[in-house]
Symmetry: C2
Subunit: 405 residues, 2 copies
């Protein structure tokens, strides 16, 4: 039940089995952080790991740490930790590069020799489309932009590859992966799932859904640090045969043999390319330990409850939600429209509530269940209500625009 | 003059204007580190920066640090610091991805619509060739492997793009960039310079040499940390027109407008792709400050002297050098051959001297002049001499093979 008072929110916190995870983080206590869907805060273990990677591994171990500290294996060990969060096998996920670069690898590999177009929805996260435009310009593969509301009935023989987010970055609408995959199989389409806004907050089972290709970032709900390297998921069978064009030495079957010809590693490791950024990767690895043995279904359920609570309090404020209603499945964030959204977000930040703004009038709030409680979200909504009711956002200091990430 | 005694080495250290840089590093004092050409040690400022990026920026500043801590500008600010080390303009260098991925970007952009082959030397650093093989498989661009000793006379109309290291990773032979560029211009060939083993130790002037394209890593002589993100150099005029296919949002003219179509940033920023790994990038940025106002010609001269000293002491030990002799220009490392090189390198490590081994019989030693003195190198050579003269390397613990990076 969505709480309708502060004390009901407190009561939910009291019996919340995920509440104990908050102690693994160390958020400044003047902040209610509703932007973990953009950049997750650091788990304490990640901060400690950054320091030990610097001091003990880089400084003292020097080049030997590639072996002695396991740097060389991090893309795989870290990938295995992600696998269980998305329903993949341990050897089906590897960390490499960025989401953008990984989409290129997969889309290039899957569209080579395929007759049809590479498709994506017109309202897909921009970099996904940009990358496909670059690939299409390079190889001549035709590109197809689907209408935002096109469902899996749009899949047909003119499409070979589809890139699609499992959770929409603006609305948090959730795609029915299994239904899409069923339609894709019937139409010989391969789907590359962008799991950036899903991993760590949504209960996903890629294998059960018949999904074989995915990418995702590490810095949102996984709290892996700013720009943390991304992951690639490729089903075991496909990984053994697919050739990706960014065939750098880290994806070679024997990188340190220095053989003249590229020979891909047997499995998903072939999706690695150059030398990975170890400081960022180490922090990401430590951050993933927060998820060891966690019940991902419980995370999704709590994120939903927090979002429902927030939306319920937004409704009387005149904010129009563009996110799925309480009756539907939803990712970990909600978005509401308001003409002066930018100024409101600035005013919220000044009052300790951090959300983000997306063009042209979207206020987006994320509900990472591991460090947020029901009372936190209740309080954030109270601050938002106050800002709107007193029109505090009209103060000039809040409406002055500057670069927004 | 190459010193011929420990006291002469001491005398050179006493009057070395670069000696003071050693205090900027914090190497374990039981180690003589001759592997800065593989992984540079951390400048103290880089270790401090890792911690402040974690604690002050990520933990306290959270998502606001993209603007407030300048994360979003790091690829450019950091690129500008590299520009002066390679003779580029400040706006001609950007940090992005890895060397492998950056070679792909440049080679793809330059070979699109070009009639001739993409060429590289058969003994080029392996990942450079692997990447070109992947590109050729994707686009059908013909590939040409040049003989190891092919000089710029090999450039002709059948070649459109050449990827070439400025300093050879095994031998440390130095390419005459200006001479290659002159021949390239006559034959309508574009050269992509791999500056990985050159940047920070060789006095390079890309513009003066007429070189317009380069890539390089950050973790060797620049001491940017394990797997530190790489850089791309593109001459101003070329940067304004070249289209690279990994067109991710960070290379967009207005990344946060979330426009549906990709529009490249005006200059070299278009070579950025996905979100950069900030923890690694911050360390790399701090490490570059060591080079502020440094005399790069003095670095090259000292590296040469250190290498000459080492080679002079290797000669009577029966080790065959495959590196340029003292009379020729050379990169910052030297390589010598020895049948049991692997065991010798292991024995050296056990005695505090760290070098590396490359198949099949190469012992490679790097001489980063910022933290190594003449006496350090003298002492390392003495330890090597002892290991060879007493055949200490024959002990079983040194010859047992394991994975080597």
């Amino acid at each position: 039940m969505t709480p309708v008072s502060a004390s009901e929110a407190d009561a939910l916190d009291d019996k919340d089995p995920l509440a104990r995870y908050k102690t693994l983080f160390d958020l400044p206590d003047w902040i209610i952080y509703l932007d973990g869907n953009s950049l997750g805060p650091p788990p304490k273990a990640a901060l400690a790991r950054i320091q030990s990677t610097g001091e003990a591994e880089w400084r003292s171990g020097l080049v030997k740490s590639w072996n002695d500290a396991g740097w060389i294996d991090l893309p795989k060990t870290c990938g295995a930790k992600i696998a269980r969060l998305i329903g993949g096998r341990e050897d089906e996920v590897i960390i490499a590069d960025s989401v953008s670069v990984n989409i290129f690898k997969l889309a290039a590999a899957l569209s080579a020799n395929a007759p049809g177009a590479i498709a994506y929805h017109a309202d897909e996260f921009p970099t996904d489309g940009y990358i496909l435009q670059g690939l299409s310009n390079l190889t001549g593969a035709p590109l197809m932009r689907l209408a935002p509301d096109a469902d899996h009935g749009a899949l047909g023989s003119e499409i070979s590859v589809l890139v699609k987010s499992a959770v929409h970055y603006k609305t948090a609408a959730v795609a029915d992966i299994a239904a899409w995959e069923q339609a894709a199989a019937q139409n010989h389409v391969e789907i590359i799932w962008d799991l950036s806004h899903a991993t760590g907050v949504l209960d996903i089972d890629m294998r059960a859904a018949g999904a074989r290709y995915g990418v995702g970032c590490g810095y949102k709900y996984l709290n892996g640090g700013p720009g943390a390297p991304a992951f690639v998921y490729v089903g075991r069978q496909a990984a053994a045969t697919l050739n990706q064009p960014l065939s750098g030495w880290m994806g070679h079957a024997a990188p340190f043999e220095f053989a003249p010809d590229y020979a891909p590693a047997p499995g998903v490791e072939r999706f690695a390319s150059g030398t990975p950024p170890i400081l960022s990767l180490s922090a990401r690895d430590a951050a993933l330990d927060v998820f060891a043995d966690i019940d991902i279904a419980a995370i999704e359920a709590k994120a939903k409850m927090l979002g429902d609570l927030f939306l319920a309090r937004c409704a009387p404020l005149g904010l129009e939600s563009i996110s799925p209603p309480p009756s539907e499945r939803r990712g970990g964030h909600v978005s509401v429209r308001f003409d002066h959204g930018y100024a409101v977000i600035q005013a919220l930040i000044a009052h300790g509530v951090i959300g983000d703004f997306r063009q042209p009038d979207i206020m987006r709030f994320g509900f990472s269940p591991l460090f947020l409680g029901y009372r936190d979200v209740w309080n954030a909504a109270s601050i938002l209500a106050d800002i709107l009711e007193t029109q505090k956002w009209r103060e000039a200091k809040y409406s002055a625009r500057r670069k927004v990430t």
